[in-house]
Symmetry: C2
Subunit: 446 residues, 2 copies
């Protein structure tokens, strides 16, 4: 840990919000998820607060019962390209699945976003949890969980290979001598792998940060292995300090074992703080929110990581049902955590639904209490920062106005941007082009 180590903060922008009832908040425009002005306004607020990045989650499959934001929303790449020219410093992270895209198209669109934003793009790599997505893409069955992760690994390799199609000085653009391209600095990829064959070269140069940042989110064995191998940022779960600390240590250990610098894989748990003047008031707000929860919606939410398994068929007051017959091919890590928690704590189905609907929240209290807990997670090996998951303007404002200044006073968060690129904000190095010859500095040192 260096003296200058600081928190990294992301703001998840999700329109009307990813829960079933969040859209009912009186301050939230009902069309927030399809209104580009809403996104631009919130990205500018996050930039004014010196956040590292905004983050767009995604899913390519819906049913009539899907939560409002996912039912009807802007697509991440087009959305972030529009936000790019309305902002100047904040990073732009978009989610896109490796299961139903072509690597060439993905490489091209993120590289384009990276140039449009002048080095602020990140790709959150997901494999898609919901099995129904397959039928939107010509397949009867979703790829098996293990296969999805193997494909994702190769997919990212291909994309990163395409991103190095041109060395950074490939384009002299010398009009006097009529030399646009230095042809020796254009490199085809000629990838032939288990899942993809891609010749290249990509038709776009690199950005001021070299390559877009790679984010990932995965709790399962395969998810952690993929994250340790490829991720530079991880959007993690924040159920409790202990769970976060175990995850943090495990992923950093795995990355180190792969020869990576563990400081170059930043772990940012989701943060949904409930903040009020006093701890008592904040607790009261939490209780009121939980009191408004609807059991049927909680059961739908519980079923989602099990590929929308119907939990209403079981006795609510019997122990959490045996679901060992389910394939757990969807959001496997989350489903496993639910089963594990229910068994460990001897929960009934009803209790399990409430537990996960109410989302055990470690960040409830006064601004000082929340800042203290953030500091504890940051200093005691549970996180490198957080991805703020609030939907309502007031919830964002109270965090920015009352918690962030405390973190800044403690030297834990920047008061001004020191860099122009997302890699700069995150303390990640510029990605050297794999084809570049030894840098002049190295040659001079010989």
């Amino acid at each position: 840990m260096t003296a200058s180590r600081q928190l990294h903060l992301g703001a998840i922008l999700s329109g009307v919000g990813t829960t079933q009832n969040g859209w009912l908040h009186p301050d939230l425009p009902g069309d927030a998820s399809v209104n580009i002005d809403w996104y631009i306004d919130n990205a500018r607020k996050a930039e004014a607060a010196k956040f590292d990045l905004v983050f767009i989650v995604d899913s390519p499959y819906i049913t009539p019962d899907t939560a409002p934001h996912f039912l009807n929303r802007l697509e991440p790449l087009t959305l972030l390209s529009a936000v790019a020219t309305a902002t100047s410093r904040i990073g732009l992270a978009g989610t896109l699945t490796t299961s139903y895209w072509e690597p060439f198209n993905v490489a091209r669109q993120f590289a384009s976003l990276d140039l449009i934003s002048r080095g602020r793009a990140a790709w959150n790599v997901v494999t898609t949890g919901l099995e129904g997505a397959a039928r939107n893409y010509g397949r009867e069955e979703h790829f098996d969980h293990k296969l999805r992760y193997a494909r994702a690994r190769e997919f990212v390799d291909v994309v990163q290979g395409l991103w190095d199609s041109y060395e950074d000085d490939a384009f002299p653009r010398d009009k006097a001598n009529a030399v646009f391209l230095d042809k020796g600095k254009q490199h085809p990829l000629n990838h032939q792998g288990a899942f993809f064959s891609v010749a290249g070269p990509l038709n776009i140069q690199r950005s001021p940060q070299g390559q877009p940042v790679i984010f990932q989110a995965g709790e399962s064995e395969q998810g952690r292995a993929l994250g340790a191998a490829i991720a530079e940022g991880i959007y993690a779960n924040a159920e409790s300090f202990d769970q976060a600390q175990e995850y943090y240590a495990d992923v950093k250990r795995r990355a180190t074992a792969l020869g990576r610098n563990p400081d170059h894989i930043l772990i940012l748990p989701g943060l949904i703080p409930i903040i009020a003047d006093t701890d008592e008031e904040a607790r009261a707000i939490e209780e009121e929110q939980n009191g408004k929860l609807d059991l049927n919606k909680a059961l739908v939410q519980l079923g989602r990581p099990f590929n929308y398994h119907d939990f209403t068929q079981y006795d609510l007051d019997a122990p959490f049902p045996d679901v060992s017959h389910l394939s757990l091919n969807s959001y496997k890590g989350r489903a496993e955590r639910i089963i594990r928690t229910a068994q460990r704590d001897n929960l009934t189905l009803r209790e399990t639904a409430w537990r996960f609907a109410a989302r055990a929240n470690p960040f409830v209290g006064s601004p000082k209490t929340v800042a203290d807990e953030i500091e504890r997670w940051f200093l005691d090996g549970a996180s490198d920062g957080f991805n703020l998951r609030v939907t309502n303007p007031a919830d964002f404002a109270i965090f920015v106005d009352r918690v962030v200044p405390l973190l800044q006073a403690r030297g834990l968060f920047r008061t001004e941007y020191a860099h122009d690129t997302l890699r700069g904000h995150l303390g990640l190095p510029f990605v050297q082009n794999r084809h570049a010859r030894a840098a002049p500095a190295a040659i001079a040192a010989e």
Copy 2:
């Protein structure tokens, strides 16, 4: 022809330009193709001139010898999303191939651009001419020409079906009664076709213009048939008035035969005017430009529609070679036109290369001469407007400052936008949702 019929003008924005030497112009920044500010600036100029739309061409395959713009450039969807929030009225047309994308992703991104721009998106449907593209997408061989067009037809059907996933009033967003979605107005597609199986529904609502406008460009038999069936705008070739008139009549006839309103398929030939104070000066500029052409680059350009066939292997001063052994699976219509022209006019290979490098240009002269020729094409059944293909700022400015006012004075072009959507500008009707019940007006008339 109605009294109010007016020209439609598009501006093709292509950075440093799609020719080999265009980037050498002293007024053109060498990085124009990867500089979003360049695109925003030029889109705003086209909007200030009241153009209907800007147009982005595309190709997903390059070699070291590809023309500068295609070597290194922003991707159309991300580019146009960034331009969308920097403009307010002008239409935004982007090219995307049906050969190497998933319909669900294409439907989603164009729908998102359509919402971001508040009803100004258009999709230029292409099938990709260059066979090498296949190897960027896991295929050894490019789809056969006929197969490409069959796939394109079904692809567009699927995309348009997905665009109607929600009826226009599907989202009451009624907070008082907690009704976000009217579930009866969400419609899966359940498409099962020869090439694609897509269940839907799409996770995004329709825009103020109902659906994005469909553009297409195709000269071959299959290209014309597809355009007549699906296109609402066609980016056509403008070699000569006679050729344009034949094409215009043929495509309108085909569309009419399919039961379509021929006024709802607008034909916009490419326009590369050479304008000076007098006709003599303009002719002199044309001759000077042609004098600068390089025979080797002309031969590369000649080979492109033949999938970059190497024409340097033949005797330059013998008759145009027999290329009947080539499959013409690339830009088939253009290749056929080159062969036809060379045979008809008994051209040598050298003469053929010059003829197509120099691009026989019907629009050379004083502002009045060019305006007269535009008017003749428009009134005598050769076009519904034009897609302006100039790269240099001065060439755009002279057209806007000296030709457009003449067209406006003759009542042939708008002096102010009368609509907010691209369909409005083009005189195309709002696309009714296929699932909507009879409109109230129709019910009232019974």
